[in-house]
C-alpha cells in the first residue's frame, strides 16, 4: 500500500510541466516555513524560503516512516544547499534536488514553483 503511495510522487522538472496549479497568495504562506497542498490526491509541501527569496516544493511524505509531515519541517541550509528537516526524526533533505542528506533514506520528489503577480503556482505534469 505504502509503496503505491510513494510511487505516485515523481519529480516534475520545469520542462515536464503541463499544469500550473494556483495555490494561494504569497501572504498566505508563513515566512521561512512550509504549508501542505492537496492536489489530485497528492500531498505537496511548499516552502517559502523568504530569507533567500526562493520557493520550493516537494512531496509531503517523509520516506523515513512514511509520514505526511514535511510541510511542518524546519528549513535551513547546509553549506549552500537549502534543506528541510523532518519534524519526526530530523532526517534532512535538499529542497533543490530532494536528495536525502543523511544518506540513509530515499530521496524526495520535487516540483517546480513559480510566483506570478503575487500568486504562488506549483507545476504538475498532469
Amino acid at each position: 500500500m505504502i509503496n503505491e503511495i510513494i510511487a505516485n510522487y515523481k519529480t516534475v522538472t520545469p520542462a515536464d510541466v503541463k499544469v500550473w496549479y494556483e495555490v494561494a497568495n504569497v501572504s498566505e504562506f508563513p515566512k521561512n516555513g512550509g504549508v501542505a497542498l492537496s492536489y489530485k490526491g497528492l500531498q505537496i509541501a511548499i516552502f517559502n524560503f523568504s530569507r533567500r527569496d526562493e520557493w520550493y516544493a516537494t512531496q509531503n511524505l517523509c520516506p523515513h516512516k512514511k509520514q505526511m509531515i514535511l510541510s511542518r519541517g524546519m528549513i535551513g541550509s547546509e553549506g549552500e544547499e537549502p534543506k528541510v528537516a523532518c519534524p519526526f526524526h530530523k532526517k534532512t533533505f535538499s529542497l533543490k534536488s530532494g536528495k536525502n542528506l543523511n544518506g540513509s533514506e530515499c530521496d524526495l520528489a520535487t516540483y517546480p514553483v513559480k510566483v506570478d503577480d503575487g500568486m504562488v503556482y506549483v507545476g504538475f505534469s498532469e
Binding site: P30, K65, M74, S77, G79, K90, T92, C106
Partner: protein
C-alpha cells in the same frame, strides 16, 4: 557482467553497498538472494531488538535502498543448488538465475551440540530475529532461563534474558568464562561481576541431557548434578552454512565453510565466498570486520583493480551491552613463546589488566582488560601497529605515576593505524577527511568516512582524532552551535542580551552565516525565550514542531494535549471537563508519569477548539511540548498523610505556578515531598524539595530518564522563602551557562568544582551575581502569559492550525485503530 550474491546478511549487504559505490548497474548487474524474510539487518546489535522489537531499526539499509541502488533483492528465497557448468543457481521456488560470478555470503548458523533432548520445546538458539521473537514469546510465560555457553555471545544472551525479568543461569563447559579470550584471573573477576548483576554462573558443566515432559524442565550434567529451568538458549559457537558445497563439488575447510584462498576464491574461479561462510586457512572468522575486508577483496577483483588480498584478521573483541567492561586483544593469553606478561589486579575496585610483551620487551603482543576497559582502543592500537612502548611498559596498565600523560594518547598513533575495523578506516583517513572536507563534528565525520557506523566501539577514538586534528589546524574545539554560528550557547546568550535583538533573522544577519538549520533555530528560540520570555508564537517557524504547534507530535502526525495540573491536584469539575473534551474530540486519555492527564490523537485543526474549551474551564498550557518547566509533582503531605511534616501540595503548586512557562536549555522537572519517605520522588528531579522538621531540604541536578542521577543536597533546613530564592538563582545560573539540550544533571557533571562550587555560587554568592540572577528570574516570571490562551483569542494565530493551505479538511492519511476501547494511531510503515 552479472554477479549473483547468495545470502543477504551483514557481509552480503556490505558487499552490495561497497560495490555500488564503485560500479553502476551498467557495469555490474547485481542480484541478491536471501532466505530470511527481512532484508539484511544488523546482527551485531541484535540484542537491542529485545528493548522494542522494532526490526526496522536494525535494518542495514531501508527496503527501498536496494531499489534506488539497482540491486535486485529477492528475500524469502533459499538458494538450493549451484550448477557450475552452466553457471546458474536454483532456488527453492524452482527459479533459476545465471551468473558470471557467484558470491556466497551465506553466513553461519548456531552450533547445536548433539545433546539428548535438544529438540524440546523451550530450547532456542540466538542468531536471527525469528529466534528472538520466539525467545521473547516463550520468555513471557516462564520464570527461569539458562544459557548454554559462557562465551561472548552467551553472556550477551544471558543479559538479555535477565533484562526480560527471568532468573538466569549461564552454563559453561570449560573451567572459566570466555575461555578463548580470558585467562583464569580475568575470567574469575568477570564471573563475580556477572554474578553481581544477578546472573548465576555454573562452570565445568558438561550437559548430558535436556530433560522434560514435552518441554524442558531441567538440564542434567555429566557429574550427575542438575539445573531446573524453563528455557534454554544455546550459544556454543557457529557452523558455516555450506550446504551448497557437496552437490556442487566445492571444497570445504576443516570443520566446515567454503574453502577459499587469499582472493576469497573457492576451487571454482567464478565462485567467491565471504563472511562467516568462508574458511580461510582453516579459520572461520566470526566477526563482521574480517567479512567486510573479504568483500573488499572480491570487489577489487571484479573491478580489476589492484587486488587487496585477505591474509587473516585480528580477532580482538570487547564485550558489549552487559554493563561489565571486558576487552581482549591480540595474543591475549600470552601463548607466544617467552612472551613477558605484566598484570595488575585490584580486587577492591574489581579491575584486572594484563599485557603480554614480546620476549625483548619492546612490543605489545596482546592483553586482557576486565573491569576497566577504557584503554582498550589505544592498547589494541599499540599491539596492531607494533608501536614503541613507553620506557616503563607497566605504565601501559598502571598509567604514568608522575602525573605526565601516560600513553601519549591518540596523538602517538601512526596514520596507518586502523581505527574503525568494521569499515576499515585508518587514523590517516579520518585526518585527511577532516582537513580536506572541512569537517567539524562527529556526525559529519561518520557520514563522510563511515568510521563509527558499524559496531560503534571506536566512536570515542574517532571523536578524539577529530578534536586533535581540529586543534592541529588551529581551530579551537569550542562547542559551537552549528555551521551557522561560531559561538557557544553561553556566548550566544550573552550576545542576545547585549545586542537586544529578539528576531532570529536579524540575529543571524548580524552574528551568523548562511540560512540557519534545525539545530540553531530551536536553540536560538530557546535563548530568546529564556532572555525575554516573549510569546514563542511570534516566531513560529524557528521552533521545533512541538513548540510551533504548542503540542507534542505523535506517530502518524496527530498531536497530544496536556493541560497544566499544578502539583497534580485537580477538582472533580475539572476532571469532568477533561473527560468531556476527550469525548467530544475523540481523544485517547492516559495518566502521565508526571501526575497529569494526556489527551492524545488530536487533529492539528482541532487544537485551538480543544484548548478553547480547556481554557474556559480554567486550564492553562502544560508546556509538555517545550524545553520548559514541566511538572512539579507532589505527595499528599501534612494535610492528609500521617507522616507529613509540611504541606507539600501547597508548596508544589506555589513552585509550579512560579516557574510555569520558564524556558530553559532542556526541560525542567521538580517535586515536593512531605517527608523523607519521598513519595514524590524529588531526588530524581532537576530541583526537588523534601520537608524536614525544621523546613525544607533543597536538592538539585537529579534526573530520571535515560541516565538517572540522584539529586544532591544544595541547602538543608531552609524556610520556604529561602528555598524559592535559591531555586531562582540556581535555575537562572543553569539557563545562562548550559549547552543546548543539557539537562541540569548533565550540565552539573561538567561543572568544575562540583557541588562545592555550585553551593558557593548559589548559597554563598561567591561570584556576586545572586541578586542579578534573582532579578532576571523575576522579570521572566512577570511577563509570563499562557501561549494557548493567546492563540485561542487571536484569529490570525488560530489560522496556522490547518493541514492544507487549499482545503479545510484535515490530513486524510491520519488513521487510527482501537485498543482496549480507545483509539490508537495505526502503526507506521
Amino acid at each position: 557482467m552479472k554477479v549473483v550474491v547468495v545470502g543477504n546478511g551483514m557481509v552480503g549487504y556490505k558487499f552490495c553497498e561497497k560495490l555500488r559505490k564503485k560500479a553502476t548497474k551498467e557495469q555490474i548487474e547485481v542480484v541478491v538472494y536471501g532466505d530470511e524474510s527481512l532484508p539484511a539487518y544488523d546482527r551485531v546489535h541484535l540484542s537491542e531488538y529485545f528493548s522494542d522489537q522494532n526490526s526496522d531499526k536494525l535494518l542495514m539499509a531501508a527496503r527501498d535502498w536496494y531499489q534506488s541502488n539497482d540491486i535486485n533483492l529477492k528475500v524469502g528465497e533459499l538458494v538450493t543448488a549451484i550448477d557450475r557448468e552452466n553457471q546458474q543457481i536454483t532456488t527453492h521456488k524452482g527459479n533459476t538465475e545465471s551468473y558470471d560470478y557467484l558470491v556466497l555470503a551465506t553466513g553461519s548458523s548456531a552450533m547445536v551440540p548433539p545433546i539428548k533432548g535438544v529438540e524440546k520445546k523451550g530450547v532456542y538458539v540466538y542468531r536471527k530475529i525469528e529466534d528472538l521473537d520466539q525467545i521473547i514469546d516463550f520468555g513471557k510465560k516462564v520464570k527461569r532461563a539458562a544459557v548454554l555457553g559462557g562465551g561472548l555471545l552467551g553472556l550477551e544472551a544471558a543479559k538479555a534474558l535477565m533484562d526480560m525479568g527471568l532468573e538466569t543461569q549461564v552454563v559453561e563447559f570449560a573451567s572459566r568464562l570466555m575461555p578463548r579470550q580470558l585467562d583464569d584471573t580475568g575470567a574469575e573477576l568477570l564471573k563475580s561481576k556477572i554474578e553481581s548483576l544477578g546472573i548465576e554462573v555454573l562452570l565445568n558443566k558438561n550437559t548430558k541431557e535436556i530433560d522434560g515432559n514435552g518441554k524442558l524442565n531441567r538440564l542434567v550434567f555429566a557429574d550427575d548434578t542438575e539445573l531446573q529451568t524453563d528455557m534454554l538458549v544455546i550459544s556454543c559457537g557457529i557452523v558455516s552454512r555450506d550446504e551448497l558445497a557437496d552437490n556442487a563439488g566445492l571444497e570445504k575447510g576443516p570443520r566446515g565453510g567454503y574453502k577459499v584462498n587469499s582472493k576469497m576464491l573457492t576451487n571454482d574461479p567464478k565462485i567467491f565466498a565471504i563472511g562467516e561462510a568462508a574458511n580461510y586457512n582453516g579459520m572461520v572468522y566470526g566477526l563482521v570486520a574480517p567479512g567486510y575486508e573479504m568483500a573488499d577483496t572480491v570487489i577489487s577483483q571484479l573491478l580489476e583493480e589492484e587486488t587487496t588480498l585477505f591474509e587473516g584478521a585480528d580477532m580482538s573483541t570487547k564485550l558489549k551491552l552487559i554493563g561489565v567492561d571486558v576487552g581482549s586483544f591480540g595474543d591475549a593469553l600470552g601463548t607466544t613463546p617467552n612472551s613477558i606478561p605484566i598484570s595488575y589486579e585490584d580486587r577492591n575496585t574489581g579491575t584486572y589488566k594484563r599485557v603480554n610483551l614480546s620476549p625483548d620487551g619492546k612490543k605489545l603482543l596482546g592483553g586482557i582488560l576486565v573491569g576497566d576497559a577504557e584503554d582498550y582502543n589505544i592498547l589494541h592500537q599499540f599491539a596492531l601497529n607494533g608501536m614503541a612502548l613507553p620506557p616503563n611498559p607497566e605504565d601501559l596498565i598502571l598509567g604514568a605515576r608522575d602525573g605526565g600523560s601516560d600513553l601519549g594518547g591518540i596523538g602517538a598513533l601512526p596514520a596507518t593505524s586502523q581505527i574503525c575495523s568494521c569499515e576499515n578506516v585508518t587514523k590517516g583517513d579520518i585526518e585527511e577527511a577532516v582537513k580536506s572536507q572541512g569537517l567539524e563534528n562527529i556526525g559529519q565525520v561518520k557520514t563522510c568516512t563511515k568510521a563509527g557506523t558499524g559496531c560503534g566501539a571506536c566512536t570515542p577514538m574517532v571523536t578524539d582524532i577529530l578534536n586533535e586534528t581540529l586543534k592541529s589546524m588551529g581551530k579551537s574545539v569550542r562547542k559551537v552551535l552549528c555551521e551557522h554560528f561560531d559561538y557557544t550557547r553561553q556566548e550566544l546568550f550573552d550576545l542576545v542580551k547585549v545586542s537586544g535583538i529578539q528576531d532570529y533573522e536579524r540575529f543571524l544577519d548580524e552574528h551568523g552565516v548562511g540560512d540557519g538549520c534545525e539545530v540553531c533555530k530551536p536553540a536560538m528560540a530557546s535563548i530568546f525565550a529564556s532572555v525575554y520570555n516573549d510569546l514563542i508564537t511570534k516566531q513560529d517557524t524557528i521552533q521545533d514542531t512541538n513548540d510551533r504547534f504548542l503540542a507534542n507530535i505523535q506517530r502518524g502526525g496527530s498531536y497530544s494535549v496536556i493541560p497544566r495540573i499544578p502539583g497534580g491536584e485537580i477538582t472533580p469539575e475539572k476532571l469532568i471537563v477533561i473527560g468531556e473534551v476527550a469525548k467530544e474530540f475523540e481523544l485517547y486519555t492516559k495518566i502521565t508519569g508526571g501526575q497529569r492527564i494526556d489527551l492524545l490523537g488530536a487533529k492539528l485543526e482541532d487544537l485551538p477548539d480543544i484548548w478553547e474549551k480547556l481554557i474556559n474551564a480554567g486550564f492553562e498550557s502544560g508546556h509538555a511540548y517545550g524545553k520548559a518547566l514541566r511538572t512539579v509533582k507532589s505527595c499528599v503531605g501534612s494535610t492528609w498523610c500521617r507522616y507529613g511534616l509540611h504541606d507539600s501540595v501547597s508548596f508544589a503548586i506555589e513552585v509550579e505556578d512560579r516557574y510555569k512557562g520558564l524556558r530553559a536549555p532542556h526541560k525542567l522537572k521538580s517535586a515536593v515531598s512531605g517527608c523523607r519517605r519521598e513519595c514524590a520522588e524529588a531526588q530524581s528531579k532537576d530541583f526537588g524539595i523534601i520537608a524536614t522538621e525544621a523546613g525544607w531540604n533543597l536538592y538539585v541536578c537529579g534526573n530520571g530518564g535515560a541516565n538517572p542521577a540522584h539529586a544532591q543536597l544544595l541547602a538543608g533546613d531552609i524556610d520556604s522563602e529561602t528555598c524559592i530564592k535559591y531555586i531562582d538563582r540556581f535555575l537562572m545560573f543553569y539557563i545562562k551557562t548550559a549547552e543546548p539540550l543539557n539537562r541540569t544533571s548533565v550540565w552539573f557533571s561538567k561543572l568544575e568544582g562540583g557541588m562545592d562550587y555550585l553551593r558557593s555560587v548559589i548559597v554563598e554568592d561567591s561570584l556576586g551575581i545572586a541578586e542579578q540572577l534573582e532579578l532576571e528570574m523575576q522579570k521572566l516570571i512577570e511577563v509570563y502569559k499562557c501561549e494557548w490562551t493567546e492563540v485561542v483569542n487571536n484569529p490570525e494565530l488560530r489560522k496556522k492550525f490547518t493541514h492544507f493551505i487549499n482545503e479545510k479538511a484535515g490530513d486524510p492519511t491520519l488513521k487510527f485503530d482501537k485498543m482496549r476501547g480507545q483509539k490508537i494511531p495505526t502503526a507506521w510503515g
